[in-house]
């Protein structure tokens, strides 16, 4: 039961334990036609995208910065996310927390989130208050005031957040260790929330430098979706964001990952009940917005074939037939600035070992690599993709998320339909080929959660009790 709303951020830890196919496939397609979506770029370099949706008198207003944890360097990991928190702490004309109070008074819902590739800020609000949202968001794009006093309080909040999401969560710790093991030098080996030691040593100056370096119109994208008139929004954008001075952006150094040369393995001890295993293979992604490739899309389809519904291969074989897992997930991400992994993760059933699980997973993959997939399996994945194009229109916010999350990694909104087509064009042979090519040991990392009792004394007592029953 999740009774606490998470506020001011959801770090995307990748959908490790709760992912469904519909979420894994970029939710794309329907009416990205020019008649509904409009784009302009302001003189200072800010890209503005407006999509009309007149079903209800509401609007989603988002600003996406092409800056995330992968732009950080060792020693200051987590600073992108810390800055996100500090963005609510006042500007030259607003006191700390006043931003939120103004949005709340107008009935708005607001938050922000940081990921490997980006940082985004948003409000959902009744449409007549959009101009005020634009004024406020443009203000903190260049007038942020970072005080040491506010920083010292907020960094404590961030550390509490880290304890909540990672340090006290076996699955959070496992994922953190997993990416840190899979990648040697690619910067997404560091957790988005940052290592605790780096958070402890961070100062307000680190946040300030980050802000100065990255928060500038040419590094941002404004997305507005809802019951709006595009020309009016462009005009409002000019009058608000248009006043933010232009700034030359430093060139980014690309930080790559050397080829892997064999399986990597680790185990992690943490308080928990069940064994969890994660297997991840280095996977290709779309590079330079060139979506005319096959492999990344074929891997997304493969994820659907493995874990699309309750009867897809991993679920049927591992959960239902062999009772090796109590739950299993597969996922791949074709798009992003970060290096990507194709991940299969599972909570194991009592008495089952990681070795049994790994062997079975490899059998399932080998079957696809050797014999391919059935036409029906392919068809179901494509139907899910097609249907999701309709369902997504029920959410104004979801549509803004789709445009922003693609644009921020360089995929233009007008290619959204083409992305869906790319997935629909994938053939059974191509799915077989990527299983053979990428899901091999030389690309593999295996992480095992070795569960520890929360009370070591109790464990001893239980073991004795169990032993005495046996005899």
């Amino acid at each position: 039961m999740n009774q606490y709303k998470t506020n001011r951020l959801c770090i995307n830890l990748k959908p490790i334990f709760f992912c469904a196919l519909i979420l894994l496939i970029p939710n794309s397609g329907y009416s990205q036609k020019a008649e509904f979506t409009h784009e302009t770029t302001l003189d200072n370099g800010l890209k503005v995208i407006v999509k009309e949706d007149h079903r209800a008198p509401t609007v989603a207003h988002m600003v996406w910065y092409r800056t995330g944890s992968i732009d950080e360097t060792m020693g200051t990991t987590g600073v992108a996310h810390v800055l996100e928190h500090m963005m609510f702490k006042g500007t030259k004309t607003l006191g700390p927390g006043e931003f939120s109070k103004k949005v709340a008074a107008l009935g708005g819902r607001e938050n922000a989130f940081t990921n490997n590739d980006y940082t985004a800020y948003f409000q959902q609000i009744e449409k007549s208050y959009l101009p005020e949202m634009m004024r406020l968001e443009a203000d903190r794009m260049h007038n942020l005031v970072l005080s040491e006093e506010e920083f010292k309080k907020e960094i404590k909040v961030v550390m509490e957040e880290r304890r909540l999401r990672t340090d006290d969560q076996a699955s959070g710790l496992l994922y953190e260790q997993f990416i840190a093991t899979a990648f040697n030098s690619a910067p997404n080996r560091n957790p988005v929330i940052g290592w605790m030691e780096d958070l402890k040593n961070m100062t307000y100056l680190d946040a300030q430098n980050w802000y100065k370096k990255w928060y500038t119109p040419s590094n941002a994208i404004l997305v507005v979706v809802g019951d709006v008139e595009p020309k009016q929004v462009f005009e409002m954008a000019k009058n608000t964001y248009g006043k933010v001075p232009k700034q030359i952006l430093e060139e980014r150094k690309i930080q790559g990952e050397p080829d892997q040369k064999g399986v990597k393995r680790f185990s992690l001890k943490a308080p928990a009940e069940n064994i969890v295993v994660m297997m991840g293979w280095k996977a290709p992604k779309v590079i330079d917005a060139n979506i005319d490739v096959v492999d990344p899309w074929a891997l997304e389809v493969l994820a659907g074939v493995l874990d699309g519904n309750e009867n897809t291969r991993l679920n049927r074989i591992l959960v239902k037939e062999k009772n090796i897992s109590t739950g299993v997930n597969a996922g791949a991400d074709a798009i992003g600035r970060s290096e990507q992994l194709f991940i299969i993760s599972s909570v194991l059933a009592k008495g089952k070992t990681p070795a049994i699980f790994e062997t079975e997973v490899k059998k399932i993959i080998a079957d696809i690599a050797q014999n391919g997939i059935k036409p029906d399996e392919l068809k179901r994945v494509k139907i899910a993709v097609t249907a999701s194009q309709i369902y997504k229109r029920d959410s104004v916010f979801g549509q803004a998320m789709e445009i922003g999350s693609l644009e921020v990694v360089g995929i233009p909104w007008n290619k959204i339909d083409a992305l869906t087509d790319k997935i629909r064009d994938v053939t059974a042979d191509q799915v077989q080929a990527v299983a053979k090519k990428y899901l091999i040991d030389d690309r593999l990392t295996v992480g095992v959660l070795d569960p520890q009792p929360i009370d070591p004394q109790k464990k001893l007592a239980n073991d004795r009790a169990a032993a005495s029953i046996k005899h």
């Binding site: 109070k101 008074a105 069940n274």
Partner: protein, 446 residues
């Protein structure tokens, strides 16, 4: 005790006038129709997107389970899509999963405390909608409860339950509910033993008893006409038993008594880095006249995201927690209020005291004018965001039907908020939040 004067000051500026702009937003009309099966249909026409959201709610949840076999409602729901007679032919779980996937639809069976629910999402094109409704209708009426599948699902459930029992948030929530619900069946919680005791016969009996048409609310919103909606509702419920005998209502929850601190504060040790803290009390049901004063009042106390008193005292001023909030959970015959947070172990005593003091000060003194205005302004101006999608409207339909609220509830919602005064809030909180009855649970604290 600790009201931040500075923050309240800027609440005054900027807000004057905004509240006055509150507009009237016409919601889509809800139609209520009695179906031949005895079920009640709640329908909203929404034609812009070629899709339909469908829900079915009915009394029958954990609260209805036999004490020694808690889990029956849960496993009945879980097995509803794992085998049934469809068009007179027995079909297995693989067929059901794949056939729904092939329609691009979603069907979910969900157990709850007082009620169980079905939720479907589908395209409205007849080639998809018709076969889906036909299959769902058979799934609802003719499930096949397989022993082998039940045993498998029980093992999975137990594994998940044991995992939860290692987590401080679960240990806290379980203890909290125990203290709030006491022996009321609303507090029914699965245990390893109660799960193990659930049998196929239990599921069959539960299905017979509770999956019955005269108790069902069918909710439909989307791209279908009134006639189509009636047809869908009729088909979905036509093969179900029309009536039954058992008493379906859950006994009302008695209010918590005044107790000594030692009786109402529980600390449980845990090696986690953070202490998890919850405090709360029984509270009025949804139809109580205090509902709106408590709603507006709680926005000020702990419901209003970044601008609540709890957020200000605990996170903004002291950096003690990432998340702190409070809410009222109104149920059919009763409800509860809860406030909670997590904080580093060595800050737990300080945090519990702050939580208590902030709540007590608020209950004693009530809100001030600026806070009331800010809260009403937020709730009224933000109302359109509560109804701007079909899925959000379906949730609202579900609540209106379940709590038997007037069909114009959404149209009147902002007026009800407008009517709430500072005094109403103060009185409602004084009446309902007696700090001497409030229970507190800390897991993993000092």
């Amino acid at each position: 005790m600790l009201i931040n004067k500075r923050n309240l000051k800027y609440l005054c500026t900027g807000l004057v006038g905004i509240f006055m702009q509150a507009y009237v937003y016409a919601t889509l009309p809800i139609q209520k129709i009695d179906l031949p099966s005895g079920a009640k249909l709640f329908y909203v026409e929404a034609r812009t997107i070629p899709m339909v959201n469908i829900g079915i709610d009915f009394p029958g949840g954990f609260a209805h389970d036999p004490k020694d076999r808690i889990g029956v409602a849960n496993f009945t729901a879980q097995l509803m899509n794992k085998g049934s007679k469809i068009n007179g032919v027995e079909k297995n779980e693989a067929f059901i999963a794949d056939s729904i996937s092939e329609l691009g639809s979603m069907v979910a069976f969900m157990p709850g405390k007082e009620m169980s629910s079905v939720r479907m999402k589908t395209l409205s094109t007849p080639e998809v909608l018709n076969p889906l409704i036909s299959q769902a209708s058979d799934m609802l009426a003719f499930p096949i409860f397989s022993k082998k599948i039940l045993e498998r699902e029980k093992a999975i459930e137990i594994s998940g339950l044991l995992e939860s029992q290692t987590k401080p948030e679960y240990i806290m929530a379980k203890q909290f509910k125990k203290m709030i619900y006491r022996d009321n069946p609303l507090g029914n919680e699965q245990s390893v033993n109660s799960i193990k005791a659930v049998s196929i016969d239990d599921l069959k009996k539960f299905h017979q008893t509770y999956y019955r048409a005269d108790q069902m609310n069918v909710l439909i919103i989307g791209d279908v006409s009134r006639e189509q909606a009636i047809e869908i509702g009729t088909k979905l419920t036509k093969n179900l038993p029309k009536t039954g005998t058992p008493k379906l209502s859950v006994p009302p929850l008695s209010p918590l008594p005044v107790q000594d601190v030692s009786q109402r504060e529980v600390k449980i040790a845990h090696p986690s880095q953070q202490a998890h803290i919850q405090m709360g009390i029984t509270s009025p049901q949804r139809k109580d006249p205090d509902y709106f004063p408590l709603l507006v009042g709680n926005y000020i106390l702990g419901g209003g995201g970044f601008v609540s008193r709890l957020m200000n005292e605990i996170r903004e001023k002291r950096g003690l927690a990432y998340s702190v909030s409070s809410y009222f959970y109104p149920a059919k015959n009763s409800g509860y209020f809860v406030a909670g947070m997590q904080t580093k172990k060595d800050q737990s005593d300080e945090s519990v005291k702050l939580l208590k003091d902030t709540i007590q000060t608020y209950v004693n003194q009530g809100p001030n004018d600026d806070e009331v205005q800010a809260a009403k302004s937020n709730l009224i101006n933000g109302f359109p965001l509560r109804i701007d999608s079909n899925s959000k409207l379906l949730d609202n339909l579900s609540a209106i039907a379940w709590f038997d609220l007037p069909l114009n509830t959404l149209d009147e919602w902002t007026n009800e908020v407008k009517k709430v005064t500072k005094d109403d809030i103060h009185k409602a909180f004084k009446k309902n939040l007696d700090i001497n009855k409030m229970v507190t649970v800390v897991v993993g604290g000092q």
